[in-house]
Every structure is written in C-alpha cells, then in structure tokens.
Amino acid sequence: MASTGILIETENGAVKETSLGVMTAAAGQEIIALVVDADPAGLKDKLAEYGAAKIVKLTAADKDVSASPDLAAHALAAAVEKYGLTALLGTASSTGKDLFARLAAIMDQPMVSDCVALDIAAKTAKKSHFSGKTFATLKVDAQVFLATVRPNAIEAKASAGAGEIEAFSADVTDPGLLTIKEVKKGDAGKIDLTEAPVIITGGRAIKAAENYKMLEDCAAKMGAAVGASRAAVDAGYAPHSMQVGQTGKTVSPRLYIACGVSGAVQHFAGMKTSKVIVAINEDKDAPIFAKCDYGIVGDIFDVVPVLTEKL
C-alpha cells in the first residue's frame, strides 16, 4: 500500500480538528502522521482513531524544527524519502501554506495549495480559481503528490489505525537564510479565523469597535471565531486580521453567520465555500439574501443577543 504523510498541526498539545480532516482526505492510504511541534504520546489516541498507522516525531539532528520554516521544510523532505511517501498533505493554514511551498521548491515537485477535494490515487486536486468564482481540477504529474487542504473543506471521519509511535531525526541543517527575531503575540485564546469551524461576522452595521463584544459573546457559545467585512475594517471597527474576503482571509467554515453585511462579491470571494451561510440584515432587499442559505430580516442589535441567549 502506498504511504501518505500528513503534517499534523497541534494547539496546546492537542491535534487540531483541521488536521483530522486532512487525514480523512488520505483515507485508503497507509497514513503516516508527522508531528513536529508536540509530544506524540499525547496525540496518539486521536491520531490512531483517525487512521494513523504510524506517528512520527520529526526533528532535525534531534532539534525542534518548528521554529525555522526552512529547517522544517528540509526535515519534511527527508521524511518523504525515509518513509517512501507517495503523497504528503498538510493544512492550508498560514504555516502550512508557507511550509509546503518551501518544501515543493526544495523537492522541485509540483504542489497544489488550498485544495477542497483530493484524489490521491488519481493524483487530481480540486481548488478555487479566480477568488472563489470557479473550481479548477488539476492533474499532478509528480513522484510525490504534495498538497495542502483548505481547513474544514473535508469533514473528518474516524477510521482506526495502529498508531505506532516512532522518532525520526533527519540529517539536515538550516540553510541559515533567515532568522525569526520575535513573535508578537496577538489576542491569546482567539480561535484562528481561517481554521474556525463556525464564524460570525459583523459588517459596517456594527457601527463601533466595542459592539464586536456582542458578536464575541455569541461566538463564545458556538466555539466560533469573529470576522469583519472590509467596510468595518476600513472604518476602524476591527483589525485587518479579522477581515474576510478577497483582500482578507479566505475561510470555509461549516457555518458562516453574516451580521449586517451587504454581500459584495469581494466579501463572498473569502467565504463562498462555507457549508451553510446565514445572513441577518435589516434590509429585505440586501443582495446577500440572494446568495445565502438562510436569511433573517431584522436589526442585528435585536437578533444577535437573542441568538446568544438561546444557544
């Protein structure tokens, strides 16, 4: 059986939900979970439940590789060779996208970024082209199929694996091209927008930065992240890191609730592939109602607090 490597992402020592979806994309292959930034023992049960035959703690000369993107990419390339991987998949998170692009360049192999569907045996991948307006099916002619998967695009399904833990210390060194000087911590505890399973977004209608508190309260009840439209960001109500859309983040949660957002194409470019889209808008003719799944005509300041209360 062909072996597929999965780069596992973790948070507070636990496997991220999005990585489980990536494992599901490799169903039918022998799955080798590659862990760079956590203790594999703490991940074993979860990774075995979702099909990992092996769980490999990957280091470079026994050193942690997670702090240097180039070193991590070289270590991954060494793991591909060591385990004879025919495919290696990761999450299209900001670190995943960066690492896989570095890896693809080092290996001089094709790579497909941010896929919404994959067929590893046929070596095809489906992904967005033209800012979410079209889907492209790409055929990859490669010895090793490299791809990242859009967070939440593939629903995680359990499928038992042996989950044997081993360690691999790759014989690679950092090319020393760049140095991370500092990591500035953002708002701790906030769920990353691009990986959130549920998102509630406030548009221009939110009217003031402090009113995002209303959405945060609601988000807390759903395990959701809070997003913003560009109009809200430009008005100074929210930081750019919260912006969803063509010039902001691309998200694909299973539920997207847009509050006081009109539904511009540039906003949809960032959230169109969400599974279910709900809009709350006081204008019954708002364009967003023509492009979403469920609509409520109403004032967000009336509707959202009731939603928070009833959740």
């Binding site: 790579m111 941010d114 800012s131 990859v140 991370i180 000087k181 500035k184 539920l255 609509g295 409520i296």
Partner: protein, 256 residues
C-alpha cells in the same frame, strides 16, 4: 539598488468569469489588471527607489496582452519592464519561476525582489518560493511591514490567530507583499503618459532556453462554483426566528 517586481496579468476580481469549453474562459470580454497583491510590491519598490535611488524593473510572464497591465505598473513609477511571452494564462508555477529567474539573470540580478502573496486567478501561492529557492536566497511571504537597509531586510508577517513574526534576512531576498504593507498610489495623467514611453523588453520562453513541454500540473477542468439560489427566509418575531434558526442549524444542517 535594483529592485525587480514580479507582476502577474490577471482578470479584475470584479469580472464575471465565463467558462469556455473544458478549461478555458472568455478572456477577451473582461478587464485585466495588475494582480492586486503585486500592486503592494510595486508601491513598496517605487517608494524605496524614491527614498534611496535605484531602478525598479517589472517582470511579467504572460500573454502579449499583458503589456497593457505592465503599463499600469510603469505608471505607478517603475522604470522599465521585461515581458516573457507565453500563450496560456494557466502556467505551471515552477515553469513561471524558471522564466522569472532566467529573465532576471539575463537582465542582471537585482538586490531585492517583490512578488504578491499569491495570484488571484490561479491562487497557487508558491511561485515566489520556487524563484527564491532557485536563486538560493531567502523568501518571506504575506509581508505587511518591511524595512530595508543596505544589507538586510526586516519583515513582519501574520502567522495565524493574530500572532506576528518578525523575520530578518540578508539581501537579496524575495518579499511576498500583502495588504497593510502600504497604500498603492493612483497614477496621475502625466504618469500614465510617461509610462507609454517606458521600455518593455519582450522575449519568449524559448529565447530564455526554457522548455515548456512537460508541466507538473495541468488544468483538467474549470467549472463555476455552484451559486446559491436564494435564502430560505425565516419569518416571525425575533424569538420565533432565532428558535427556528437554531433548530435548522442543529437538526437539519447539523452544523451546530
């Protein structure tokens, strides 16, 4: 200081993409523009030149029509351009990177290279990495703050969850620009007129000795993302609307 900016000729994001056959789209009917993220690169390069002197060269791999897009980048203040002509909008990223590298080597390698964080048509997010690797120089993507002095560059980028990394690297390097880096200028009429006279050096892939015959990635099918046909509106009092919404999300859609 010589700065190269990689600029891709892409459909305007507001344009409606009409699919033509299995893998084509009607490109003659729509407006093309400078890839929006590359625009941040052009602005940064031009303002660095305004401060420190030097030259800004636009490098594009694209159809002959890309010349019009290049003119808009020149109107923003770049000095001249190189256009490597191909006949397809959908180029394999490793091929594009090879062409960009060969064109830059032919022209004389720059001290700094800008790209966008990704192109809005193929969204492949990798050309800059392949280019940097082939040149053996550092690359950092999604850069929203940058400072450059004689020998080094310090870039700041968002790494998810609102965290930011500050990365230092030597020159030359490749910087993938994104929103926040600057506000791209709107060229004024005299700049647009001046840009008409600036030089665009045209060459083909084969002039650069590049073989385009065996791409690693080929487009098999292009299809529209299914449009939603209109919302199911939930009626009633606020209480009733919210109760029904929660019921739908939990029981029918199973997303909560």
């Amino acid at each position: 200081m010589k700065i190269c900016v990689c600029v891709k000729h892409v459909p305007d994001t507001a344009a409606t993409i009409k699919i033509d056959g299995e893998t084509g789209f009607k490109d003659s009917e729509i407006k093309f523009v400078v890839n929006p993220y590359d625009e941040y690169g052009v602005e940064e390069a031009v303002s660095l030149k305004e401060k420190n002197g030097g030259e800004v060269v636009i490098v594009t791999v694209g159809k002959a029509e890309a010349a019009a897009t290049i003119r808009s980048a020149l109107a923003m203040g770049a000095d001249r351009a190189i256009l490597v002509t191909t006949d397809s909008q959908f180029l394999d990223a490793s091929l594009t990177a090879k062409a960009l590298k060969a064109a830059m080597e032919k022209d004389g390698l720059p001290d700094l290279i800008f790209t966008g964080k990704g192109s809005v048509d193929t969204e492949s997010f990798q050309t800059q990495y392949r280019l940097a690797h082939s040149l053996g120089i550092p690359v950092v993507n999604e850069v929203s703050t940058l400072s450059v002095d004689g020998k080094k560059a310090v870039a700041e980028l968002e790494v998810g969850g609102g965290d930011k990394q500050v990365i230092e690297m030597g020159l030359p390097c490749v910087i993938g620009a994104t929103k926040g880096l600057n506000e791209p200028r709107y060229p004024k009429f005299p700049d647009i007129m001046k840009a008409k006279k600036k030089k665009i050096d045209e060459m083909t892939l084969s002039d650069l000795g590049i073989d385009a015959s065996a791409p690693g990635v080929t487009l098999e099918k292009l299809e529209p993302v299914p449009e939603r046909t209109g919302a199911k509106m939930i009626e009633g009092s606020v209480e009733e609307q919210v109760t029904e919404l929660i019921r739908i999300l939990k029981q029918d859609e199973k997303v909560l």
